[in-house]
Structures are given as C-alpha cells and as structure tokens.
C-alpha cells in the first residue's frame, strides 16, 4: 500500500483548514482547539489521505480522543497507514 509521509499529510491538513479560511501553524505543538480543528476535520483529512493512497483507512475512535496537537494528528495518520 502506498503511504503518505508527515510533510504530505501536513500539506493536506493545511488544505482542509484553508477551505475554512484558517491557516495551519508551522509549529507541530500547536493545539487543535486553538486553531479550530475538530473531529470532523480529522475525518475529512483522513478521507483526503485515503484518496491519495487509494485505500481505506478504518480505525477505532479511541485514538481520536487523545489527539490534542497538530503533531498528534500527523502521528496518528502515519500510524493508521501502517496498520
């Protein structure tokens, strides 16, 4: 399965936020709550990653509850692709 690396996922994340008129901070430690990135935005990002890699990413919601920062989002999506 083709996978996307962190920079590629970061670029897609920026696109998800850009549609909402928001800018993705450069700092991976930036809090999702502060930039208004919600769980449905994570779903949109995951679906965009799916489009790029041509495969479904199915996963439990438990992992979503612990993401707080941009870095957490990138880590989780890299991890999910590896499963």
């Amino acid at each position: 399965m083709e996978t996307l690396d962190r920079p590629a996922i970061r670029k897609l994340m920026g696109e998800v936020l850009a549609v909402q008129g928001k800018t993705l901070p450069a700092d991976d430690a930036a809090k999702l709550a502060d930039i208004g990135f919600r769980s449905l935005d994570f779903s949109e990002l995951a679906l965009r990653v799916e489009d790029e890699i041509g495969d479904e990413l199915n996963f439990e919601a438990a992992g979503l509850r612990s993401i707080e920062t941009i870095g957490d989002v990138l880590d989780l999506l890299v991890e999910i692709q590896g499963q």
């Binding site: 769980s39 779903s43 199915n58 996963f59 919601a61 438990a62 509850r65």
Partner: protein, 248 residues
C-alpha cells in the same frame, strides 16, 4: 367474561452471551431463584463453570458463537433434552463499536449487524417455532440499548442494530398475540464498558449529568429482566430504558 389466560413465568430460560457482565448476572440471578437456565457464549468462562458446578441439575452451558446458526440450533435441542422446552429467551449476545461511521469498514458493519440483529432474530425464530409447535406460552427479553433511541457518536451501526431489535420487539409482540410476551430492556452505558474508552473525568462528568447520579451497572438491569421473565405484569412490546434518567 374474558378468556384471558396469563403467560406463566418462564421455567427454562436460554441466555445468549452469558460469559460475563449483564448476561452472566442474569444467569446467576435466575439460577438463585430456582429457574432452569441454559446459556451460551463464545467461551465458557470460569464464572459460568462455577455456576454449573453449583447448580448441576438446573444449569446447562455451552460454547457457541451466536452467529453460527447450526450450532445455536443444536444447542437449543440439547437444552430441550436436558432441561425441557425453552419458554424464556434472553437475547443478550452482542458486539460493540467505537468508530466513526466513515471510518468503519463495510465488513465490520456487516459483522455488527449479523451478531447484534440477524443472529438474535434467527435464534428467536427457532426457539419460538419449538415453543409454539408444542402449544406452549413463553417470554422473550431482548437486551437493546439507549443507543437505539438516542444518538451517540461512534456507534452508528451498533445503534442501528439496537433500534432494529427494539422495533422487532414491538412487531413480534403484536404478531404473537399475547401467547409470548416480548419485551426489551434498554440499558444506558455501563461504567465498566465506558471506562475502556473514556477517562475518569469523562466518566464522572457523565455520572454528574445523570439525574440519579450514577451510571448503569448490570445489577441495575437484572431485576427488570427477572420481572419480565417471571412476574405477571401484562407488559408487552415495550423497551424499558434503565439509565438513571440520563436520556430524559
């Protein structure tokens, strides 16, 4: 003058999904009250084995996957030979879900529907055919969930199955014309299950928002299941919510 004859208390009860939690608590409670109880689960746990030793004449347990139709039907016949005709059925076996719908595979959705909705309908059909064919009366209790009536994220397919079972409960009660009483219990979230996915603070917050101040435990649900199986109440076709008022 009515020729109404009440449905007698169940004397031989089959409980699916009895290895732990609510299913196990229902089995233990009924055995304590002298009811003959058959139960199956994918695995016969030490807790069930202990009950089998304590009640050798009244209990009959087996390892059966509820989605294995042939195995479940063979088990029903086995119970009939050992304890008598099953006149009480508790459909408790189910699998859970904790994933957003768009991130749940179609295979997983099919598996949830097969286990939580198709399997209990098929098992109920088989038990009823044997009961009605012998001219007997009986009782069915479906274990559904508050998810069948209220929306919760991460539980789309699960909720669909529980709502489906609630709907089947009503239609079956109507179809069976009082010869078999069919009801459902719809528990709120069990603290034991939620603790696996939520933190202590979130659990406390849910308990605070619940009018009774406490989340549901299997022990809270057991008395209602017992009543529906054993008491003369004329309750039929109902889904009884047991959630401390959390959904009101």
């Amino acid at each position: 003058m009515s020729d109404f004859e009440p449905v007698p208390p169940a004397s031989v009860v089959l409980v699916s999904g009895a290895s732990r939690g609510l299913g196990l608590a229902i089995v233990a409670d009924l055995l304590e009250r002298g009811v003959k109880v058959a139960a199956f689960a994918r695995t016969v746990t030490p807790e069930l084995e202990k009950l089998a030793s304590k009640y050798p004449e009244e209990a009959h347990f087996g390892s059966v996957d509820v989605t294995d139709e042939k195995a479940a039907q063979a088990f029903v016949k086995e119970v009939e030979a050992r304890l008598g005709v099953i006149d009480g059925l508790v459909n408790n076996a189910a699998i859970g879900q904790d994933s957003l719908h768009v991130h749940t595979s179609s295979d997983r959705i099919a598996q949830i529907i097969e286990t939580n909705l198709t399997a209990p309908l098929v098992l109920t059909r088989f038990v009823l055919r044997r009961l009605i064919g012998k001219g007997l009366k009986g009782r069915v209790v479906n274990v559904t969930s508050i998810c069948g009536q209220r929306g919760y994220q991460g539980l789309v397919a699960y909720s669909a199955t529980k709502g489906g079972l609630d709907a089947a409960t009503r239609s079956l009660a109507r179809e069976l014309g009082g010869r078999v009483l069919v009801n459902a219990v719809a528990p709120g979230f069990f603290a034991s299950e939620m603790s696996a996915v939520l933190g202590a603070n979130q659990l406390e917050s849910i308990a605070r928002r619940t009018p009774s101040g406490a989340m549901t435990t299997p022990e809270d649900v057991v008395p209602t299941v017992r009543m529906l199986l054993l008491e003369q109440t004329n309750i039929n076709g109902q889904s009884i919510v047991i959630d401390g008022g959390g959904s009101i």
